[in-house]
């Protein structure tokens, strides 16, 4: 028989895990969008070197598993920092995971931003330039604000995927929601119940968020 009564006293611990999950997701999305936008502008640039470099970055990160990136960064980031600063700089699992998420998600956000920018008519670019704006002003003031508005649903959808993928930090021992559920369950010998509960929570959050995004999408397209 399943016995879910052990979950109630564990809720504070699970909540702390959820905070970790949300922190990873929100910071990962923000960093991913910033880096992804820079990558997208490089990809769209007329400079062949820049656009090829950005293209290679995107193709590389889209072709390897996220779990690999997380473990690899966990091992590599402290090493690289030591190489740069010349001394041991402990960064911890949280920072290395965050950097891994930002860099991995940037590849996906880059493609979303690129499609968004390309969906804005060329006439907008011409009109901004005709008013004397330089390339940077045109992008920042005219093209990107319109593009971001159009691609908000896609960006949110990608964020929901990241919300689930943050659970991979389990591999480097970071205590996110899933890991705290597993650990709490193990302690009282009720792993199955806790994992079922965790699955239920992931489902409810992701499903309702997806639902809201779809409604938003409908409103934006009308």
């Amino acid at each position: 028989m399943m016995d879910f009564s052990g979950i109630i006293p564990s809720l504070p611990g699970l909540w702390n895990g959820m905070l970790m999950t949300l922190q990873l997701m929100v910071l990962g999305v923000i960093g991913g969008i910033v880096l992804g936008t820079i990558l997208a502008l490089c990809r769209l640039s007329s400079n062949k070197l820049l656009s090829n470099l950005a293209g290679a970055y995107v193709n590389y990160f889209r072709s390897i598993p996220l779990l690999l990136v997380i473990t690899w960064f966990y091992l590599a980031v402290p090493f690289i920092l030591r190489w740069i600063t010349g001394e041991d700089t402990p960064v911890g699992a949280f920072t290395s995971c965050l950097i891994a998420f930002m860099m991995f998600e940037a590849a996906y956000f880059c493609e979303i931003v690129r499609a968004g920018v390309q969906s804005i008519s060329k006439g907008q670019m011409g009109a901004a330039q005709a008013l004397g704006m330089n390339y940077g002003q045109t992008m920042r003031l005219i093209i990107l604000p319109q593009a971001f508005r159009k691609m908000t649903p896609l960006l949110l959808q990608q964020s929901i995927i990241l919300f689930q993928d943050t659970s991979l930090v389990y591999a480097v021992g970071l205590v996110d929601f899933l890991n705290s559920a597993r650990a709490s369950g193990d302690i009282i010998g009720r792993s199955n119940e806790f994992l079922v509960f965790a699955g239920f929570v992931y489902f409810v959050i992701s499903f309702s968020a997806s639902f809201l995004v779809k409604r938003l999408q409908k409103r934006l397209t009308v």
């Binding site: 005709a130 004397g132 319109q146």
Partner: protein, 244 residues
């Protein structure tokens, strides 16, 4: 004011402009007409370097566009342009559309830019719409805002690229009225348009283009008055569009 000298432009192997040479003097209104695909829009976009060209030069108020040292954004900020599809910025209000370039490009204060923008909005008869977004306006209204937006930069010349061809017929006149008024005030204008009524009323010169070449470039009186002396292709074109 504008001097176009032997401009040649290719898209790959296809030559879109062949040895185009003409000029627009200060205070002059020049109408460019011709069949679609004749290169007239491309030519007018060469004047503010929105379209690059491979050979020749365009000199605007003493500044050469072909010169790689020329600061193109600065030059463009002095040349007003109105597009076929208006190209107002849909994410900004009408007031913001009128002020953004004044503030970001000319460095005017927000108050100064708003004052100027609203003055021009009143001039095109749309003061009541200052807080709306472009999508809430009709095509004719949007195009009048677009003209006001260009004028807000205090341009030395205005370029019009088929400003009425995307409009419903009943909205053409409200836009043409603004353009006629501008012409009467002495604005230097280069207009790509098929509105021959407008050309007759305010143009000083008419240019006819076909297949990327300037075929006809003469005074308005000569263009419309002495049609027998026109190039065969011009007569053919005029006969078609003046029939009704």
């Amino acid at each position: 004011m504008i001097s176009i000298k032997n401009v040649n432009k290719w898209y790959g192997d296809f030559q879109v402009l062949t040895d185009c040479t003409t000029e627009v003097k200060k205070g002059e209104v020049v109408v460019v007409c011709g069949p679609s695909g004749s290169g007239k829009s491309t030519l007018i976009k060469c004047v503010n370097a929105l379209e690059p060209f491979q050979k020749g030069d365009v000199v605007v108020d003493g500044t050469s566009i072909a010169d790689p040292k020329t600061n193109l954004p600065k030059l463009r900020s002095r040349v007003g342009m109105v597009f076929q599809h208006f190209e107002l910025f849909p994410h900004l209000t009408i007031t913001e559309n009128l002020t953004i370039a004044q503030i970001k490009v000319l460095g005017r204060s927000k108050e100064e830019a708003t004052k100027k923008g609203l003055q021009l909005l009143e001039r095109v008869g749309l003061s009541a719409h200052a807080h709306k977004h472009p999508g809430q306006l009709s095509g004719g209204q949007q195009q009048r805002v677009a003209i006001a937006r260009a004028l807000a930069m205090d341009p030395i010349v205005m370029l019009f690229d088929e400003p009425t061809s995307a409009l419903d017929p009943e909205m053409v006149n409200e836009v043409l009225d603004v353009m006629v008024q501008l012409a009467h005030e002495g604005m230097t204008m280069m207009c790509v348009t098929h509105e021959m009524g407008f050309a007759r009323k305010v143009a000083n010169r008419v240019i006819f283009m076909d297949k990327g070449m300037i075929i006809e470039d003469c005074q308005k009186e000569e263009f419309f008055g002495n049609t027998g002396a026109r190039h065969e292709r011009t007569q053919h074109f005029l006969a078609k569009i003046l029939q009704h």
